[in-house]
Symmetry: C2
Subunit: 336 residues, 2 copies
DNA sequence: GATGTTTGTGAAATCGTTTTCATTGATAAA
DNA sequence: TTTATCAATGAAAACGATTTCACAAACATC
């Protein structure tokens, strides 16, 4: 039925080995035979069977990309960059969505073993980051977005601590004093951004007011709605959200309450998603170099495959503060 | 090195065939042996080699998902739905981004053959839709988002013609008369929505004013900027954009020109992306049932695998018109 | 008691490649 | 001339699983 390398060999009048050599590895084949084989391939419409090739050659030419949810624009952008480079390098990508669920993470890591992937790019939850130091994988891993100091894997992350500090600093310079912080509770980024927020607030002699919530816009919306309902006196003058999902929830809650950004409440957060430019006066955000993160992660993975014993590297990229109207200078009449 | 089914068999004191039976197919194995095998699997840390399994069993348990760009929220949402169902059904998904490039489409279709996928879900460009009727694939295909009447594949699409008509109708009812249309030039959806727009405009006795542009927000932005620069007299009173990408470009151009939505220009379009709810007075859009599209496509593919000879089906889903402030009733003082 | 039938198991073939190893003829070196 | 080296090729093994086939034991039927 389906045409195999033997059929090609028969048509070309050579051995299967020779066909294989023409197709794949760079071994020398005489020009005459090479031409015969190529003709036979065209004539038969032969397509190599990648499963057979992987089995025999013992490399899968496949990497895994495990993220929380591809619908999150951050992961979408990173993922697209990863895929582009992977396909260029002749690698297949297996994409997995964990929904920040450690069980799914474990499931997919097992799947990666069964696929015999050559490597994995992984944005793990806090729980799994910790567990990975104990049970090493059978493949090299590059962590993205999330990692910790003691993780034994290559990683490429944002300077979360400094970036959160930049937001606090900016808001402070604009005259805000009562900035509250909403942080995702599933990832290490939430913690690091939280710590950066606390440190900066403390540095300015301000009272931190931070809360960890599930990483959904609904949770952020509910939290902000609650804070607004507490009344004007208790109300913060600015909100910082630790990622794009939360940020959207914040904006929704503010709009719904009929408040004005930044007059009633300033808003800032992480992830320069395209809508942040278009909403109200524009939302001030920390822009992550999403393509660079994807490209760097792939580059690190490829280098690791080349030199498995090189020392473990952790690349920290800087965020860029994109200032927009949502954090315009506070009106002095209302200043504390 | 890596532990194979033979190792497990040796440890369990049975034949490899028995191990295979315990692991995989539902053939009967005595309880005693089953327990021994399971113990041996645990003890050895055995992981099946999926390449070997695929080669021998001759089904890849893999489907392809070929879309223009996973960063487009429409495809992201559809893709996520597809992946969820696929993984549930024990199928792997290979994701490919074509960037609306027919050459990449051809490349990836060839890749699908080499992977021996069991099926493909595909959002093709116009060119490839046409070419596919000529050269049938070696695997069943479900087209999504894009198809044409004569395509010989299952398909699940939006009722583009009617949906575009709904937008025109709504704008007309709100008092708008000079609605221009921006349509993507790479896909059949652009054409169908264009035709629906023309039909509805004609029905109302209005002069259609439509343009096909590349499917990027930059192209839309440039086009609208150009139209605005032509001066108030020539200016349309409403803009319809045939997808979320174009819609974003439209909004950017309008904001940049300092015009007010809908006072100076009403805006409506396709794709209920989350930002459309938050921008200005909210943007009126046709919401596509994105999850349903993904789920339906997967369901159709699975059914097709079950019954290869069933007649070809084309499922047409309705869009929902989400009315927001961007198309509020036209002020009568300015009515034509 | 003789003869099917069913059930559980293992030996061996097989999937479609790549890789190892042997062979051949040609060329270089002694 | 003889021997060593090399390049090009084919035969056969191997990759790690599933599947086919054969067989024995247990059971049912007449």
């Amino acid at each position: 039925m389906t045409v195999s390398i033997k059929d090609v060999a028969r048509v070309a009048g050579v051995s299967p080995a020779t066909v294989s050599r023409v197709l794949g590895n760079g071994t020398v084949v005489s020009d005459a035979l090479r031409a015969q084989v190529e003709a036979a391939v065209r004539k038969t419409g032969y397509r190599p069977n990648l499963s057979a090739r992987r089995l025999r050659s013992r490399h899968s030419q496949t990497i895994g990309l495990i993220v929380a949810d591809i619908r999150n624009p951050f992961f979408t952008a990173v993922g697209r960059a990863v895929e582009d480079i992977a396909y260029q390098a002749g690698l297949r990508v297996i994409l997995c969505n964990t929904d920040e669920n450690p069980e799914k993470e474990a499931l997919y890591l097992r799947l990666m073993e069964e696929e015999r992937v050559t490597g994995v790019i992984f944005a793990p939850t806090r729980q799994t980051v910790d567990r990975m130091t104990e049970t090493p994988q059978s493949f090299p891993t590059v962590l993205i977005d999330r990692a910790c100091h003691r993780s034994q894997e290559d990683a490429v992350v944002l300077d979360n601590h400094a970036s959160a500090g930049m937001l606090v600093e900016h808001l402070h310079a604009q005259g805000y004093r009562r900035m509250i912080g909403l942080f995702g509770n599933a990832s290490t980024t939430g913690i690091e951004r939280h710590d950066g927020y606390i440190a900066a607030m403390t540095r300015f002699g301000l009272t931190p007011d931070a809360v960890f919530i599930p990483p959904t816009s609904e949770a952020a919306e509910a939290e902000v709605r609650r804070r607004i309902a507490e009344g004007v006196a208790a109300r913060p003058d600015a909100v910082i959200a630790s990622n794009g999902l939360l940020l959207m929830g914040v904006v929704r809650a503010v709009r719904e309450a009929g408040l004005v950004i930044p007059g009633d409440l300033a808003v800032a957060g992480f992830d320069n998603e395209r809508w942040t430019e278009l909403v109200g006066p524009g939302i001030t955000v920390i822009e992550q170099p999403v393509e660079a993160i994807g490209r760097t992660a792939m580059a690190m993975l490829l280098e690791r495959l080349d030199t498995p014993d090189a020392p473990i590297r952790k690349v920290v990229l800087n965020g860029r503060c994109v200032v927009r109207g949502s954090t315009a200078a506070r009106r002095t009449s209302r200043a504390v």
